[in-house]
């Protein structure tokens, strides 16, 4: 429905997690109060990172979300590997 709302929901959730003290229960993501369609709500509630990426959530927010969910470094790559990427083009720094 709204990419802004979608991203704000995840962003606010990440901010909420920052305030959680060590050892305290981790809150679940709530979509209440955000204007999201069914598919967006499903993606967020189930933590479907591939869908979040496909919907246009900024990669920096995706990265923060994956880190908060316990992924480290690049180990969430497998969640995104089936997503299309732009074909690489020749750049000025390439020698081959």
């Amino acid at each position: 429905m709204s990419l802004y709302q979608l991203q704000q929901c995840v962003y606010n959730y990440l901010r909420t997690l920052e305030a959680v003290e060590a050892g305290s229960p981790v809150p679940t993501l709530s979509t209440s109060g955000y204007e999201l369609n069914e598919e967006e709500q499903r993606a967020l509630k189930t933590g479907d990172v591939g869908a979040m990426y496909a919907m246009g959530i900024h990669p920096v927010i995706i990265n923060g979300y994956c880190r908060a969910m316990g992924y480290r470094r690049a180990d969430y790559r497998e969640l995104l590997e089936n997503k299309n990427t732009e074909p690489k083009r020749k750049t000025r720094w390439q020698t081959s």
């Binding site: 900024h58 990669p59 990265n63 470094r73 969430y76 790559r77 997503k83 720094w93």
Partner: protein
């Protein structure tokens, strides 16, 4: 008037403090060794404050208000935002006099930086700052650049802004010895299918461009071409701004290590505090 007695760029991968042991020993030693060289030189030079330029990571701003450039005017800056960074949370002292001067002078030079009295210092600042001053008492002026959400500043725009920052530091009467630091880059990919990749060819080329006084070949590169080196690589805008501030000074890459365990090309470049041709 202030002199820029230390000028350097350094990568700011969160893993360099959150999980430094994950890197191969030799690579980590080379990178941290270069940062230690910087720390020793800064201490020997008696640096009184550091101006740090880093990219935004949705740490201070979101889509409701996302400026291209922000200068932190606060008396202090809480950091780091990330608890897992393994850097103690502190109130980093600010340097409001210098910050206000930078704001006024860069606006006078034709730029429109925003201002903030309540800046949070995220990993972009704190990883590098912690290595510069492990006691975290050195006053800092943070400058946040939007390297995240297009439309983004061109590299030439970043260079010109940096030139204005350098001129402003050198016209500040309140301090004598200031460090200027660019934190971010080098190549990295986050939150997308290529997460974990490093464009080593770009990194080595980029460092050579800096050592060649940032020629038009670098400054006129379109933003979409730069993006080919990684969606996080745009953070090199701060390095290019540093090059603008230090135009006429020789740059030297102290180290480059592609550390895949930190998902980042890790480099350090320093600038000679004396201009090229100055008497030794």
């Amino acid at each position: 008037m202030a002199d820029i007695v230390m000028a350097y760029g350094a990568s700011h991968a969160p893993m360099m403090t959150a999980d430094p042991e994950s890197a191969p020993d030799a690579q980590a030693e080379n990178f941290f060794g270069a940062l230690e060289t910087v720390r020793e030189k800064a201490a020997a030079a008696g640096v009184q404050a550091v101006v740090m330029m880093s990219g935004e990571h949705f740490s201070n701003f979101f889509y409701d208000n996302l400026p291209q450039i922000v200068i932190g005017l606060g008396e202090g800056h809480v950091g780091p935002r990330e608890k897992w960074l393994k850097v103690p949370e502190v109130l980093v002292p600010g340097e409001p006099g210098l910050a206000s001067h930078l704001l006024a002078e860069t606006i006078a030079a034709g730029f429109q930086p925003a201002l903030s009295h309540k800046m949070v210092a995220d990993h972009g600042f704190m990883t590098v700052y912690y290595k510069l001053d492990p006691q975290m008492r050195l006053p800092m002026v943070p400058i946040v650049m939007n390297c995240t959400q297009p439309p983004l500043m061109t590299l030439r725009h970043a260079y010109d802004f940096g030139a204005a920052v350098g001129d402003a530091i050198r016209s500040y009467p309140g301090l004598e010895r200031v460090a200027l630091c660019a934190a971010g880059g080098l190549s990295h990919f986050v939150g997308e299918p290529r997460v974990g990749d490093i464009d080593e060819e770009f990194d080595r080329w980029f460092l050579k461009q800096l050592e060649s006084d940032a020629p038009p070949e670098l400054l006129d590169m379109p933003n979409d071409e730069l993006m080919e080196a990684g969606n996080g690589t745009g953070e090199v805008r701060s390095w290019v701004a540093l090059a603008g501030a230090m135009r006429g000074h020789a740059a030297k890459a102290l180290v480059y290590e592609p550390i895949y365990e930190w998902i980042n090309g890790m480099g350090v470049v320093t600038y000679d505090p004396d201009p090229v041709g100055a008497p030794a």
